[in-house]
Amino acid sequence: MAGSTKDEILHDHNHDGIDRRGFLKCMAWAGTGALCVMQGGVLKSYSLSRPSEMNPEDLKGELSFVQISDSHMGFNKPANPDVAVTLQAAVDKINALSRPPEFLLHTGDISHLSKPEEFDTVEQILKSASAKDVFYVPGEHDVLNDDGKQYHERFAKGTPNGGWYSFEKKGVHFVGLVNVMNLKAGGLGTLGHEQLEWLEKDVKHLKSSTPIVVFAHIPLWAVYPEWGWGTEDSAEALAYLKKFGSVTVLNGHIHQIMQKVEGNVTFHTACSTAFPQPKPGEAPSPGPMKVPAEQLRSALGITDVNYVSGKHALAVVDSTLA
């Protein structure tokens, strides 16, 4: 990636508008801070270390929002002794964006131990964000001890049953799913029959041109099942979304950026604002990964999403805290 060249489609073997080689190149850069922007099937990538190459025109749209994830408020071990400070740094980053996002999506593990003071602190810090609305889905750390009662009271009041819900913003349909309840021994994330039935009904009558954004904590694709990084019944959920021209799935849980494209669905996982985790299989377990202090902030981050009406895919841009 030299000078001001932008990647464009060179090899469209599957005739789906996606240059896989370009995309894979971009995935390799994700760890060092590359922005990958998908617009109408054309992939553009910019190095985070050369922000002058980013054309703000390309990132404009009718709707933009930011995804944050895995704040783990209450965690205080060596991998990051002060997660409140790094969450605040993420909020500062949000507030520095040239266009204030309309709202925030938090894809779970808001707290570390489901303690009231941990939830309080996160809500307090997010109050200083330029976006006043925050939509949440729970992580497994948010539903400890009380089967999610406290989470439900705070963040899912008025939602039917298990805390899943949907809403519309500027013609984009958002669906918040819960896949961290009733986990079975040896299993992965799970959505369950009730939620899947609800989802089928929820999207049934939408026009297939409606852009869909699904957000849930545990990845809805099998990133690395050995570490529980997947959802066992996500195939059924994705089947209900097959008719739509643009589906973006935003997840957290794995504390690193990963992207995958499958037909009309783009899967995207976000960084944590608290601590990074190792790449699949590169450590004996998926626990908090210690990095040298000066590198910590570049391993944490936020995701900015832009929607431009008429374009099929959402532009998803990740930035690190450093």
Binding site: K77, P78, A79, H112, L113, S114, E140, H141, L144, N145, L183, K184, A185, G186, G187, L188, E226, W227, G228, P284, S285, P286, G287, P288
Partner: protein, 119 residues
């Protein structure tokens, strides 16, 4: 040659008499064994219950201790026991009064599984 044989037999005799002492009064040994078997420990670290499977006699109190830098739970799949969330260095104990197999897992990280076999 004879000297080393002599020393060797002395050594054997010493070992035998030592063995004799240890094998001493049966009741003393039996109660010492019971005491030692009434507790067992499972260390939780690196997303693993170690040892993953343990076999203990009826009446044993098993203590799980979390040495990982991330919280875990100990939950019986048959709903026989369930710990609250254990942060680093926190413990959970359960006394097994009935023989049987007790599979369990961490409800936060369900890929972590273990088993207590009570005989």
């Amino acid at each position: 040659m004879r000297r080393s044989v002599f020393s060797a037999s002395l050594l054997v005799m010493a070992v035998m008499s030592l063995g004799g002492t240890v094998r001493g009064p049966r009741s003393f040994v039996a109660s010492a064994q019971e005491k030692a078997a009434s507790t067992a420990e499972v260390k939780i670290d690196n997303f693993v219950f170690g040892p993953t499977a343990i076999t203990v006699p009826v009446g044993t109190t098993v203590t799980w201790i979390n040495r990982d830098d991330i919280p875990h739970t100990v939950v019986s799949t048959e709903k026989v026991f369930k710990s609250k969330v254990l942060d680093t260095d926190e413990k959970f104990s359960y006394t097994f009064t009935k023989a049987g197999e007790y599979p369990y897992f961490c409800s936060i990280h369900p890929k972590m599984t273990g088993k207590v076999i009570v005989q």
